[in-house]
C-alpha cells in the first residue's frame, strides 16, 4: 500500500520514476545482496527497459545503483564515467524473458573475491521495485523493509534457529518467505523486518549450523 510519501516523492533525478529511480534501486539492491562493490556487472534489459531505457537513463541509473548511489544522487548521469574510475566493468544488452513485467532487469554481478550473484528485479511504478529471482530461485520482496536473505541447507529446524536469533535480538518479522530448489538442497529464506539488524546479529545468523551465506539489505533512510 502507498503511503503519502510515495505520492509526494521520491525525491529523485529524472526523468522517470519507473525507468530511472526504480532502476537505481534495482542496482542498489543487487549491490547490497552481493554484499559490496561489484567489479563486474552483466546487465540484461527486458521489455520497456530495453525499448526506451536509454532515453530514460535506465542504463546509467542501474550502473549508479551498483555503485551505491541513491535515486536522488546528482552523479547518476555520470555513472558510466564513475564506474570506469572505480574499475567496475559492465555490459548492457537487451534480452527477452518469458512472463516478465515490462520493466525488468537481470543483473549478474561479481565482487573482487569472485563471489557471483544473479538478481532479477522489476520496477513496478513510482520508483518502487520488486525482486523476482535470486540465482534463479523465485522470491518476492520490495526493499521497503530491512531484508535478510539467508541461503541454507534444507534441514529440519533451521528456520527456527534463524528466527530465534531475530527474537533474541528484539527484531520483529514483517513478512517472510522460504523457497527451496529441491528436498535436501539449497533453501532461500527471505525475512523482512521492522527493525534494523545490527552487524553482529547478521554475523551470528551467518555462522548457524546449516547456513551457507547471508546477506542483508537495509532500507533507504530519508
Amino acid at each position: 500500500m502507498l503511503d503519502i510519501f510515495d505520492i509526494l516523492g521520491p525525491v529523485m533525478v529524472g526523468p522517470s520514476s519507473s525507468h530511472t529511480a526504480g532502476a537505481v534501486r534495482l542496482g542498489a539492491m543487487a549491490r547490497a545482496l552481493l554484499g559490496g562493490q561489484p567489479v563486474k556487472a552483466d546487465i540484461a534489459l527486458h521489455g520497456s527497459f530495453a525499448e526506451t531505457g536509454q532515453g530514460h537513463g535506465t542504463d546509467r541509473a542501474l550502473v549508479a545503483g551498483l555503485l551505491g548511489m541513491r535515486p536522488d544522487d546528482l552523479d547518476i548521469p555520470r555513472s558510466f564515467e564513475i564506474a570506469a574510475e572505480r574499475g567496475m566493468e559492465f555490459k548492457i544488452y537487451p534480452v527477452q524473458l518469458r512472463d516478465a513485467h515490462p520493466n525488468t532487469a537481470v543483473l549478474k554481478v561479481e565482487d573482487a573475491a569472485g563471489k557471483q550473484l544473479t538478481v532479477q528485479g522489476t520496477s513496478i511504478g513510482g520508483g518502487r521495485i520488486r525482486v523476482d529471482k535470486i540465482n534463479g530461485v523465485d522470491v518476492n520482496f520490495t526493499g521497503t523493509y530491512n531484508t535478510l536473505v539467508v541461503r541454507h541447507q534444507d534441514v529440519a529446524g533451521e528456520l527456527s534457529r534463524i528466527t530465534n536469533e531475530l527474537a533474541v535480538g528484539g527484531v520483529n518479522i514483517a513478512n517472510m518467505s522460504l523457497c527451496r530448489s529441491r528436498r535436501g538442497g539449497d533453501v532461500l529464506t527471505i525475512i523482512e523486518t521492522d527493525q534494523k539488524l545490527q552487524p553482529d546479529l547478521v554475523q551470528r545468523i551467518g555462522t548457524l549450523y546449516a547456513v551457507h551465506d547471508v546477506t542483508y539489505y537495509e532500507k533507504e533512510d530519508v
Partner: protein, 291 residues
C-alpha cells in the same frame, strides 16, 4: 494510505473537527508509526526539494533527444519584457511548470508528485505563491498534506501512472492534488476542496499518454502547464462556491474506468497519439540510429 475515499476523509473531518491536512497527518503517523514532528520534518524535506527543483533550473540544459530545454527561460523573459495576458502569478506558474518539467527531462533532481512526468504541477502553483509572500512555509506544508491525501485516494481508487491510465492519471491527478491544496491554502472547507478536485479531474478526463519516442519530454513538459493552470482555475471556482455536479469519489472512479478502457496505444507505449505523427516517428528513428 488507509483512507480509501474522499468521503472517508470528509467523515473524519466531521467526526474529529480537525482540518483536512491534520486528518492526513494523523493517518501518516498511524501508518508509518512516526511522531507528528517526524512526519512534518519529512514533509519539510520534500518541500525543500521541490523549492530546490525550481531554483536549480538552468536554461542551457537540453534533454537526451534535444527537444526539451530553455522554454522556462523564454516564458520569464517574455513576461519581464511585456505585460502578459495572464498576469504576474499565472505567468510565473507557467514558467515554473516548464522549468521543473524541463529539469526532469534533463536528469536533474525533482520530486515525483505523484509521478516524475507530472513533477512540475505542484511546485508551479506553490512556489510562486511562497515567493511572492502569498503563503508561509507552514501553510504550504499543510497544503502538501492535503495534496498527498488526495493523491493517495486517487491512487487507491483509480491510478496515477500513465502506463495504467493515460495522462489523465498523471497530469490529471497532479492537477487535482494541486487544486485541492490551493483551495485548502486559501481557506476553503472540505466540501470546497472536494469540488476543486472533482472539477480538476473532470477537465482533464480522457487525456492520453503519448510520449514521443517514449521519452518524458514531448508533450509531457507543457502538459505540466495545463495541469497547473487548470488547478488554479478549479480552486478559484470552488472558492467562489461553484460546485461539481458529479460527486468527487464518482469522478475519481470514472477516471479509473476511462483509464482501464483506454487502448494500450494511449498508455505510455508510444504507439499512438503524438508519438506516431510523422514528426514523432522521425524523432524515434533519430534516437534509434544514435544507439
Amino acid at each position: 494510505m488507509a483512507l480509501e475515499s474522499m468521503q472517508e476523509i470528509f467523515d473524519k473531518i466531521e467526526k474529529t473537527q480537525k482540518p483536512f491536512w491534520q486528518v492526513i497527518l494523523d493517518t501518516d503517523m498511524d501508518e508509518r508509526e512516526v511522531t507528528a514532528e517526524e512526519s512534518m520534518e519529512r514533509m519539510r524535506y520534500t518541500w525543500k526539494a521541490m523549492l530546490e527543483s525550481v531554483d536549480s533550473y538552468q536554461s542551457e540544459r537540453r534533454s537526451v533527444s534535444g527537444l526539451v530545454g530553455g522554454d522556462g527561460r523564454k516564458m520569464r523573459d517574455y513576461a519581464a519584457g511585456t505585460e502578459s495576458l495572464c498576469g504576474p502569478y499565472l505567468q510565473e506558474v507557467i514558467a515554473t511548470a516548464l522549468s521543473v518539467g524541463e529539469s526532469n527531462a534533463c536528469m536533474c533532481k525533482i520530486v515525483a508528485a505523484p509521478t516524475a512526468g507530472a513533477c512540475g504541477v505542484l511546485p508551479a502553483v506553490m512556489v510562486p505563491l511562497y515567493k511572492n509572500g502569498g503563503a508561509a512555509e507552514e501553510e504550504i506544508l499543510r497544503a502538501l498534506y492535503v495534496a498527498s491525501g488526495i493523491g493517495a485516494v486517487i491512487a487507491f481508487r483509480a491510478c496515477i501512472a500513465g502506463a495504467a491510465g493515460g495522462c489523465q492519471a498523471e497530469i490529471g491527478s497532479a492537477s487535482a492534488m494541486a487544486a485541492g491544496a490551493l483551495t485548502a491554502l486559501r481557506g476553503g472547507d472540505a466540501a470546497q476542496i472536494g469540488n476543486a478536485v472533482a472539477m480538476a479531474l473532470k477537465n482533464l478526463m480522457g487525456l492520453v499518454c503519448d510520449p514521443i519516442a517514449g521519452l518524458v519530454e514531448v508533450p509531457c513538459v507543457k502538459r505540466n502547464v495545463v495541469g497547473a493552470v487548470n488547478a488554479i482555475s478549479c480552486a478559484d471556482m470552488a472558492l467562489a462556491g461553484i460546485t461539481s455536479r458529479v460527486p468527487v469519489d464518482q469522478v475519481i472512479d470514472c477516471m479509473g474506468d476511462v483509464g482501464r478502457r483506454m487502448p494500450v496505444e494511449f498508455r505510455e507505449t508510444a504507439l499512438g497519439g503524438l508519438a506516431v505523427t510523422p514528426f514523432g516517428q522521425s524523432v524515434k528513428e533519430q534516437m534509434n540510429q544514435r544507439s
